[in-house]
Symmetry: D2
Subunit: 97 residues, 4 copies
């Protein structure tokens, strides 16, 4: 982002530099929006092929997690669900006797 010594100034602002900042961000935002649209297309295609996009999003989130961290998290969740009687298998045992 060169300041350009002979760049025109208005109100102390280097006009070309400000315009360049804005143009660069707008270009990048347009690219980002394009990729977001591509992602929506992949999900729409998956849905069209009968896949459950909610489950796919969960898997994408899980894959971002470190495997051991994920496993630990699932174990804690099971302990709590069991304590609350929310685990079908452990219904009887979990609930207050």
């Amino acid at each position: 982002m060169n300041k350009g010594h002979n760049s025109k100034k208005v109100g102390g602002v280097a006009v070309d530099q400000l315009k360049s900042i804005i143009a660069r961000v707008e270009k990048l935002e347009a690219e980002k929006a394009g990729i977001a649209a591509d992602i929506r297309d992949v999900f729409a295609e998956a849905k069209g092929n009968g896949y459950c996009t909610k489950a796919i999003r969960t898997i994408l989130k899980m894959r971002k997690q470190d495997a051991s961290e994920r496993e630990e998290q699932e174990n804690i969740l099971d302990v709590y669900l069991n304590a609350l009687g929310m685990l079908p298998l452990f219904e009887g045992e979990g609930e207050a006797a």
Copy 2:
């Protein structure tokens, strides 16, 4: 949140205490949702009375800002808009000659 020494434990978890945490959060979340609905009602009423809710939201945001900070922000914005030729009044002067 008393632990209650004779509170039943499942998998090392004090069942009553966990249930109380969940119940308290759910109660508070229900109250919060109720108030969010009340806010929506006020905006719906204002809209019904012909008010522009977008402008009202802008004013609510402005009122949260410290007045001098807001003024400084508006001055900077005007300088930039003028430099970019986006200020109607200063169109001619702002733009590169």
Copy 3:
């Protein structure tokens, strides 16, 4: 929100009515912020008592779901995880033979 026939107008806007809209929203938003703070307190207390707040949030989300819908969702997720070889129990069976 009574318009009040003798309410002062500025630029065609019933000043008192606009002020009342803003005051009501600000009051409700303050109440909502108060409850949000209470929720944070409950989570902080739970954390202080050694609970995993992430697991508690997951349970709160699960409890908002219809039980059968939740079960169906978990079944689909297991089928996909198994197909991708991401289920520890089914590692051998899931992966390409």
Copy 4:
């Protein structure tokens, strides 16, 4: 996304197809994250050059709006601010006499 008639199935799920969906989304999300990082770099550079990034973000938002819509929005805002006595220039006139 061809189904591929001889594609291996687990639990009724075409494994390769599911893997391809996940791989494509992950690739696109990585690209999107890269561009988001580029945008952050431009703002960091602008900040380093003394620009107010908040004002730049406001201008980017304004440029996404249709000019006449933006102008109408600003006029309504001024009318309301004036009615509430929040416009410095019109302080005296706006406020209840």
